[in-house]
Amino acid sequence: MEHSATGRQQSWKTSRSMDLLFRGVTAACAAFVLVIMAGIFVSLVWNSLPTIREFGFSFLFSKAWDPVSQKFGALSSIYGTLMSTAIAMLLAVPLSMVIALFLVELAPPKVSAVVGNAIELLAAVPSIIYGMWGLFVFAPFMADHVQPLLSEYLGWLPFFQGPEMGIGMLTAGIILALMILPFISTVMRDVFAMVPDVMKEAGYGMGATTFEVTKDVTIRYGIQGMIGACLLGLGRAIGETMAITFVIGNSSDIFISLFEAGNSIASRLANEFAEAAEPMYLSALMELGLVLFLMTLILQIITQFWLKRVKKKMGGDLL
């Protein structure tokens, strides 16, 4: 007895020092991430000081972008980033949800496995491939088939008027949607698969149909995970560069019509960094980067608050 008691005491001791070490290492790693974040932020601010001094807040509200006369504003890029992301989310989120629900609730297990694997493969395709495919295959298809249809049937809306060129805001949004769709749908699939069978049985046991169980039990149960999945997609979409740069058209104007060309922060940075020689030009690009950085940060914070509220409404973590 005595022997085992001391053995335990000793293991308790070692495990305590191990705990301390473990805590130290993990804390250091976490701190390191914070330091890097802060470092990026500070250097972005530092490098954009010239334009911050010159334009102040008006940088955010001006759509001027003229390297020759040194007039810079971020509005068209911010608009393009938000609009292309919004189109992408609008298309990808509902579609992902339907795909995930199909895979978990309706598809026979074999079909579900095959389709699930295919979607995971899609998620591994590099974004430059989406960009190239978008430019050479999808944009002509849009110009020849989709845009004529849209303008014929929805042309009374200001969004679907203008040149049917293929490239432009709408095409960029759709390419983005295709790109983030695999991510959102695989995460959502995993979320729905985690909803306990007995909860669904309880729904069916009340005489609910598959649709009602899905709507009232599965989706509600998984809502927190679904928000997480959307956030993941949003994070990818908002900073996506290659897939967009090819197809967005790179215009510095803002158009209501989604057929028109535009630009996003990321696409502008990718296109113009190489040619930015003057300090003001470079500073303007840096400030664009800063804006993107802050935009993602704000989106993160908003989503976290939203998640908290949902959690409270649901009575805690469900999964």
Binding site: E201, A202, G205, G207, A208, D216, V217, L318
Partner: protein, 292 residues
């Protein structure tokens, strides 16, 4: 078993029956008269006939024959894995959610085989409510949990809905505890309250039968006692089938008991008799705690 059990119609427990079965029936009758003067004849609400069940190739139930008396509590006991849940889950056909599960034989509900492919499952499950081992409150408010089934199956004005929800909560002996938190999430209640919420949600639909699969195994003793009292209160209006791990529970609240062992029904009869005078050796071993 005997020819009487092979009849399509649910058996009525009358004194016309003879032989060994007749003796059992007399015991039923006697019991009913003792407990409930006006109800001298009780029919079988559910009758399982030669019921076999398969998980894929694996057979889990073997030739189950069982009559569930209307308005009474029937307990299903037996060691873990003997097929109690499997048997219960046939009655509302919840097993059909899973592609590889299959039932053969007949389960007569008021004389109609509910295993027929023509059975309307939605209607069936409105008539036969189920309570699970783990409380299963939906991610909705307390009120919406109870209103859930009502909204699914009926169209009614808000005032009537409110009344029905309140009455269901009262019947489930939960109203006083939750009347101030009707719009709070159901999952925020305690485990015992959640289980009674699920009972309220189920009885709000005024089902004819309540299936309970070890409803108290995940909640504390005080809450267990409340659920047991509730079951005793509800019988008469509802036919209750309760699967239980606890023989004390079966003895306390049930009128009839069925003892399952390895997918077979070894013994079935009045609870009092089974616990005082079991006919089968296996039953005796089980209730005296020699196995399981």
């Amino acid at each position: 078993m005997t020819a009487a059990l092979d009849e399509k119609m649910p058996r009525r427990f009358t004194d016309e029956e003879t032989g060994e079965e007749g003796a059992k029936i007399e015991a039923f009758l006697h019991h009913f008269q003792e407990e409930d003067e006006e109800d001298t004849v009780s029919s079988a609400k559910i009758s399982a006939r030669n019921l076999n069940f398969y998980y894929g190739d694996q057979q889990a139930l073997f030739d189950n024959n069982l009559d569930i008396a209307e308005g009474r509590i029937t307990a299903i006991i037996g060691p873990s894995g003997c097929g109690k849940s499997t048997h219960l889950r046939i009655y509302n056909r919840i097993f059909q959610l899973y592609g590889n599960q299959r039932a053969e034989g007949e389960v007569l509900l008021d004389g109609k085989n509910l295993l027929d492919s023509g059975t309307n499952l939605i209607e069936l499950r409105r008539r036969i409510g189920m309570i699970f081992q783990k409380p299963t409150p939906f991610p909705l408010s307390v009120f919406e949990n109870v209103a859930y089934g009502l909204r699914l199956h009926f169209k009614m004005p808000k005032s009537e809905l409110n009344g029905r929800v309140e009455s269901a909560l009262k019947k489930a002996a939960l109203f006083d505890e939750v009347k101030d938190k009707l719009d709070k999430p159901g999952v925020a209640l305690s485990g015992g309250q959640q289980q009674r919420l699920c009972i309220a949600r189920t009885i709000a639909l005024e089902p004819e039968i309540l299936l309970m699969d070890e409803p108290t195994s995940a909640i504390d003793p005080v809450a267990t006692r409340k659920v047991e009292e509730l079951a005793e209160e509800l019988k008469g209006n509802f036919t209750i089938v309760i699967v239980t791990h606890s023989m004390q529970q079966a003895a306390r609240i049930s009128d009839f008991t069925a003892f399952f062992y390895k997918g077979k029904i070894i013994e079935y009869g009045l609870t009092k008799e089974m616990f005082t005078n079991p006919k089968q050796k296996q039953t005796e071993d089980y209730i005296t705690g020699r196995f399981g």
